[in-house]
């Protein structure tokens, strides 16, 4: 099918290009940065406009703002405990940023900034550094006992400590790769099936009937991607909370 000199170009959608003409060229302002700004504007608008009236019986926008607040609040307090309230703003920002990045990316012609490992790794590195600093501030040098479980035989220390340190260092990698891989895989699948629709559809009248199948798959995939977009933001937030729990309570 793809042998007519036009292979399926599934990765083109992830390429960065300057936007907004002259300004974009000068400051290397890519569509990724544009959609990050869009996400921040959307989140701010949701929270500010949603809570502007502060009605006792909330309207649609206010319910959405309150629901997202309560969802993340319950998540953080449930995982970290009462001390977690201090970290609620951080986790809320992360969750909303990732969620809006994923959701905005599903709009046709939009760019998914969470499909770049540079972005997700920056977020994960932020979590990693914050968690380490929190652990150090709360527990001081006692924090390093995290790398050597209590009661383990001292003889095994040279074996256990490198393993624990690498396990600890692998957290930001797994955190970022999980989000990045999910978003890339979803968008590649969407574009592959969309290309099938065009390819089969160009085969004449029979093609129109044949193209219905990949089109139907794409409709289902968009719904699935909505689920993944929410789920991955949730997983990112809950793993951040779990790491914070570990740092606050040490084991």
């Amino acid at each position: 099918m793809a042998a007519e000199g036009k292979a399926i170009d599934a990765l083109h959608q992830f390429q960065l290009a300057p936007v907004l003409g002259e300004f974009g060229e000068q400051y290397m302002f890519s569509q990724s940065a544009l959609f990050m700004v869009a996400a921040v504007v959307c989140i701010t608008a949701l929270m500010v406009l949603g809570m502007a009236r502060g009605a006792v019986v909330p309207g649609r926008l206010q319910s959405l703002a309150e629901a997202s607040y309560e969802f993340v609040h319950d998540l953080v307090v449930g995982q970290v405990g009462d001390e977690g309230k201090k970290f609620f703003p951080f986790v809320f920002c992360l969750f909303m940023f990732v969620l809006f990045g994923n959701l905005l990316g599903l709009i046709p012609y939009a760019f998914t900034f969470t499909s770049h490992i540079a972005v997700t790794f920056a977020l994960a590195a932020l979590v990693f550094v914050l968690v380490t600093i929190v652990g150090l501030v709360i527990h001081g040098t006692h924090f390093f006992s995290y790398f050597f479980p209590e009661g383990a035989p001292k003889l095994l220390a040279p074996l256990i400590i490198p393993i624990e340190i690498i396990s600890y260092l692998s957290r930001p990698v797994s955190l970022s790769v999980r989000l990045f891989a999910n978003m890339v895989a979803g968008h590649v699948m969407l574009i592959v099936f969309a290309t099938f629709v065009v390819m089969i559809g160009s085969a004449g009248v029979i093609g129109y009937f044949g193209a219905v199948l990949p089109l139907a798959i794409n409709v289902i995939l968009v719904g699935f991607e909505l689920l993944v977009a929410f789920l991955q933001a949730y997983v990112f937030a809950i793993l951040t909370s779990i790491y914070l729990h570990d740092a606050v309570h040490l084991h």
Partner: protein, 96 residues
Amino acid sequence: MNERDGFERRLQEARAKRGLDKPADGQKGLPAGSWGVGFRAGIEVVSALAVGVGVGVGLDRWLGTWPWLFLLFFVVGAVAGVLNVYRMFSPPRRRP
């Protein structure tokens, strides 16, 4: 009063049986679909392995001991990956 206590206890049991009570800690809050768990386990192993290899190669370059530290940290990274997956399923560790 006695009646009430009995009710609380039975409610607790019923909730526990249905899994309605929130777990105190651990990774129980994560979605538990088989695909999700499998994917997460795979990423845990691969990322620990990648970090191990990265540390090994980095130290080798620095100390000029290629390939010995790479081989050592490859194994350490693999063990750390298995440990990560074990922690995904093991009950939360006791509090000190």
